[in-house]
């Protein structure tokens, strides 16, 4: 449940500190879930990869914050128009994920109910969040959230080392690209495009 709540926090909030904190917590909790499916050493490596991605996001967030501090009116606009909606839909997705993992018709037979809830919750929250944002840093964290959900399931059905390594490399690549896009987006517009 904890790992899905971290995904909900990522969907609901915009502040980069909150996002990075939730991403780091999610990496630790997902690592604990991996330990039910994979040898502890590999689960540990997955956790470290997730934490390194969180560090990468933190450094990027700080750089963006220094380059272009957030304006107060941005915060007000977001909180008045979007926050209640995001809280409601995140709660609905959480309930649906819980329901799907508890129902014998839709639960995933290859994994335990706990992992099943995490898989449904992370993928659904990730997709929901991606539909609600076009900010690269948040988008990157949400992509990794959805991917973590998929990896939790895939680790149970295909635990090959090469695939695990490739998926970790893929997460790094996504994170790197998202951080780069976030930094580019935060630069003052030099193009002058109308």
């Amino acid at each position: 449940m904890g790992v899905v709540i971290t995904a909900g926090v990522i969907v609901i909030f915009f502040d980069w500190r909150m996002l990075v904190l939730a991403a780091g917590t999610q990496a630790v909790l997902a690592g604990l879930l991996y330990s039910q499916l994979l040898p502890p050493q590999i689960a540990g490596v997955k956790m470290i990869v997730g934490l390194l991605i969180a560090v990468q996001m933190y450094v990027t967030g700080r750089q963006i914050d220094t380059a272009s501090p957030r304006r107060a009116d941005d915060t007000r606009r977001r909180f008045t128009t979007g926050l209640p909606f995001r809280i409601v839909v995140a709660a609905m997705v959480l309930l649906l994920s819980w329901q799907a993992s508890a129902s014998p018709d839709s639960s995933l037979p290859e994994v335990s109910p706990t992992v099943s809830l995490a898989v449904f919750g992370l993928v659904a929250m990730g997709l929901l969040g991606l539909g609600l944002t076009e900010e690269p840093l948040k988008g990157g964290i949400l992509l990794i959230t959805a991917l973590t959900g998929f990896e939790l399931y895939y680790a149970a059905v295909e635990p090959a080392l090469a695939v695990m390594a490739l998926l970790a490399a893929m997460s790094f690549a996504i994170s790197l690209a998202a951080c780069y896009l976030a930094v580019v987006r935060s630069q003052p517009d030099r193009s002058g495009a109308g």
């Binding site: 080392l161 090469a162 893929m170 996504i174 690209a177 998202a178 780069y180 976030a182 580019v184």
Partner: protein, 467 residues
Amino acid sequence: MIVPLLMLAAPAIMSLAAYLLRRWVWAQSLIAALTSATLGLLALQIPLDQIAVFAGRDVQFQSAWVVLGRSFTFAETDRPSLAFIYLASTFFFAGAGAAKPPRAFLPVGLITLSLLAATIFAQPFLFAALFLEMIAASAAFILSDDEHPATRGALRLLVFVTLAVPFILLAGWQLEGLATSPEDTSLLVRATILLNIGLLILLAVVPFHSWIPNVADDSAPYASAFVFTVVQTAVMFFMLKFFTQFDWLRANTAEFAALRLAGAAMVGVGGAFAFAQRKFGRLMGYAVMVDLGTALLAVSIVEADGLPTALSIVALRGIGLAVWGMGLGWIRSRSTHRNSDDFDHVSGLGWQMPFAAAAVIVGGLSLAAIPLTAGFTGRWALFRLLARNDLTLAFVLLIASVSVTLAYARGIAALLRPPAAEESDAPREGQATIVFVIAGIGAIILLGMFPQMLLPAVARAAEAFVK
């Protein structure tokens, strides 16, 4: 010598050299073009699993490289697809110095070459989806930069490719299950559904197409052209490999009907939206959608020469796109609103930058498949096939082609309006650009007039996929 390792490592190492030479774009361009041209020749000629004399010594060229229990294998049938990717990249890299590309274009382009080779070598080949994902991530570095800070297109490309990967991997898992329980047809059904969803997303079929016009609008034109040519071709080869490797997929007529529907949707939506565009970038995006759709339509025609037609469409798309991208980069730099390619903002620039304007016009018309341009060859062959198979689709394709052409005609009219009194102080196209533009336009017209120069190579490539 392990050939896959050589082909994966060489571009990565050369990308480091290109990065170190980032102040000298022509040196970068030379290194990148030489690397990809050499690899292209090696892809065609290198002996596999044979001993050959190399630098005075007997060397065995191994075709497989095993890593963590999986392998990268260079099969004989991979030669045409590899050679195409390397030679198309050579074309882009050679012209980069003259085209105002993003600073990271050549180093990242070389890294992309490594990843593209990995998509072809990966065994089981379903894992190529992971490398396609890494390509989408690396594309972000050339699709957005200080000059093009809009990130929407690059982010959407990343999101869509990431969403496709799980479907492809899960399809692979179902197929592994099928190997142990061949009597369980539900596995086959699930694998087919998952595979189709994954491929629809990767191929940017409607409604997963939104990244194409956004990338074309927001990013440097030359970088967009590279992504639309090389990366989308790799995706097309990835799809064709499924049909080559799985008899059950090839025997499924519903699969080809779905491909035809997907292609028709891309052609229809691309054509409909192209007509309404007033920016060269977005227009190019929708024209590319139409072209991607035509390639899918051609693949869907199984009983005739659909595959060679699809490959000729794919092969000839890049030439028009590269020339177009080279010209539009210069036109945007001199627009009244810098980096804008709105028709109103580039009005009259055809008189100030005649060569860049000519590149935009001829490259665009090739993409619209106007007769006597390179793009016409594949489109005409498809019209002939569709006329025998499905006249309605031929009509839809004709309307879409006319729609793109009319939209270009508006753009051309804007470029050729009488020039404004005041001129921008942005530099005009240099002599090198003029040389490359003339060469590119010459290639478009030459291939448009004498397409038979390319057809034997296309036929050989098609044979490799049929095998």
